[in-house]
């Protein structure tokens, strides 16, 4: 009598739906586009902090790409999901044929789509400002995808365990902390050495360092970056699967 739609169609539909909602949301657009692009323009054109290189744009762009992943896959996603949970939207979707894995896949697909658009926009703008990245894009994309898995799971962990208001505050606060402590806007070597070593263990730092190694220096991604991201992604996925609450 009544049957579910094929899983692939459900996931595509969920991703489209998530995308439309995200693009309509002013705060999310601010996080996903305005802040990264503003930071790209500001840091590449104005000497706010001494970054220790003459070709500023080559240093700044990988950091801003890293920031774009952080804002979309973590901050935006956590806040939006926190409120969806609070309004019972996730609970209601739980009664449709869309399985939980399908909801997560839909969210991840929407996040990756936004990130692709961010990379194209930020990369294009940076190129216009004189950015000349080195090759190894596959490594950069792999880093971004791995970091996305880590951030999405951590964002969902927050949204699925805390009150929506706490998620809103916490996700914004972490965004700010990570922005300042992940080498996104200035080299980590300028931090006190104890803080620097702790900061190297953050997923956002691993992503930034990895992107910079590849795109600025044309080197291979340091093993440390892969390790840090894999550990965070594994821990995040396991913790989210264990503790995420849908209602």
């Amino acid at each position: 009598m009544s049957a579910p739609a094929p899983l692939a169609r459900m996931v595509r539909s969920q991703a489209r739906f998530e995308l439309r909602l995200a693009l309509r949301n002013g705060e999310q657009l601010l996080l996903m586009l305005v802040i990264p692009i503003g930071l790209l323009l500001l840091l590449s054109q104005v000497e706010v902090v001494d970054i220790g290189t003459t070709h500023r744009i080559d240093f700044v762009t990988p950091g801003v790409l890293s920031l774009a992943v952080l804002s979309t896959a973590f901050t935006s996603l956590a806040i939006a999901t926190g409120f969806e949970r609070r309004y019972g939207a996730l609970k209601r979707l739980g009664a449709t044929p869309l399985p939980r894995s399908g909801l997560l896949a839909g969210k991840a697909l929407a996040v990756l789509t936004v990130e692709a658009a961010q990379f194209a926009l930020i990369g294009g703008l940076a190129a216009a400002l004189g950015w000349s990245p080195h090759g190894l894009w596959p490594a950069a994309v792999a880093l971004a995808v791995l970091a996305t898995i880590a951030f999405v799971s951590l964002g969902l962990l927050m949204a699925g365990t805390m009150r929506a208001e706490a998620t809103l505050a916490g996700a914004n606060l972490l965004f700010l902390v990570l922005l300042l402590s992940s080498g996104i806007s200035f080299p980590l070597s300028r931090l006190p050495s104890g803080v620097e070593h702790a900061a190297r263990l953050l997923p956002s730092t691993a992503l930034t360092d990895g992107l910079r190694a590849v795109l600025q220096d044309g080197d291979a991604v340091p093993l440390r970056c892969w390790l840090v991201l894999v550990v965070w992604a594994l821990a995040g996925v396991l913790a989210a699967a264990r503790w995420f609450r849908w209602d």
């Binding site: 579910p4 449709t96 044929p97 399985p99």
Partner: protein, 308 residues
């Protein structure tokens, strides 16, 4: 072979901390009919329905929905069961039609969303964000989301709470039409007229237990041979009145100023009531000989004091 019941609950217990929200509740909702779960706030209606929907698990007891386990077989049931939550369940930023279309896309053969929007009087607000819809419009959208997948079984948790009379009627008509198409419906309500109007079976629940069950007629027939309802000033000494009457009667003040009198109703009894009142200078208004309503049954079963 009898058809599998739409819902079968046996000895369900669910406690929250020290409170037994559901306390050994058993009910059967036959297939193809409307079953109303009636009860005051906090009686355990929503908890029971949410166990049937697979949102919660009972501490003990068995629950079968379309013959399946609502938790273990949730995937298999998800396309066959439609759910309308009591509150919320929508994306506030989504447009009404966008949300309904999305939910429709999760089913292989959904009802056309436009058809439902028009049916429920929502086409004028189709492109309005959910958070800007009135409470009644949000309720109707939730109903549309529950039926768009052509479910065999529909759970409606207080579907008409807060609706205006027109929207209520539109909802009732849709429920009756779905029932005519063979859909099984379980609805919770504390609106007696809704249960009386829609339900084939009524299950009265109080303090987590079933206190009465049957068709509306069965439930109201009891004692219907003699019932007088009248209004007068509140606080009449009903025991005095009962003693003053010659035949065996019971009298209760079911609401301030509204009295119900059960007994062998005849012209003599009517005359005695009015003359007793006249003797006290009390004007009897609106005196009627009538059937017990479901509301009377409900109040006599669940008591009159306010629930927290």
């Amino acid at each position: 072979m009898p058809a599998t019941p739409a819902v079968e609950v046996l000895d369900l217990v669910k406690t929250y901390g020290a409170k037994r929200a559901v306390d050994g509740l058993s009910l059967t909702a036959p297939a193809g009919s409307v079953t109303a779960v009636l009860g005051p706030n906090g009686a355990g209606k929503t908890t029971t329905v949410e166990v049937c929907e697979g949102y919660r698990t009972g501490d003990s007891g068995t629950v079968r929905v379309l013959g399946l386990d609502p938790r273990r077989d949730r995937r298999a049931l998800s396309s066959r069961v439609g759910v309308m939550l009591q509150a919320g369940g929508a994306y506030p930023a989504a447009r009404a039609d966008e949300l309904l279309r999305h939910v429709a896309s999760l089913y292989a053969d959904p009802v056309r969303p436009d058809e439902l929007l028009e049916r429920l009087g929502l086409q004028a607000v189709a492109s309005t964000a959910v958070r800007r819809l009135s409470g009644g419009q949000q309720q109707r959208l939730a109903l549309a989301m529950a039926v768009v997948g052509r479910p065999e079984l529909l759970f409606l948790d207080e579907p008409t709470a807060g609706l205006d009379p027109q929207a209520r009627l539109a909802t009732w008509e849709l429920v009756q039409e779905l029932r005519a198409q063979g859909v099984s419906i379980v609805l919770t309500t504390h609106a007696m007229d809704e249960a009386e109007r829609l339900a084939d079976h009524v299950v009265v629940v109080d303090r987590g237990q079933v206190v009465a069950a049957g068709s509306p007629t069965e439930l109201t027939r009891n004692g219907s041979e003699g019932l007088i309802r009248f209004r007068a000033v509140p606080g009449l000494p009903v025991d005095d009145l009962a003693r003053a009457l010659t035949t065996q009667t019971t009298i209760e003040e079911v609401a301030p100023g509204t009295y119900l009198l059960h007994g062998q109703v005849d012209p003599q009894l009517l005359a005695s009531v009015t003359s007793w009142c006249a003797g006290r200078g009390v004007l009897v208004e609106d005196l009627r000989v009538e059937q017990r309503s479901l509301e009377d049954v409900f109040l006599s079963l669940t008591g009159r004091e306010l629930r927290t």
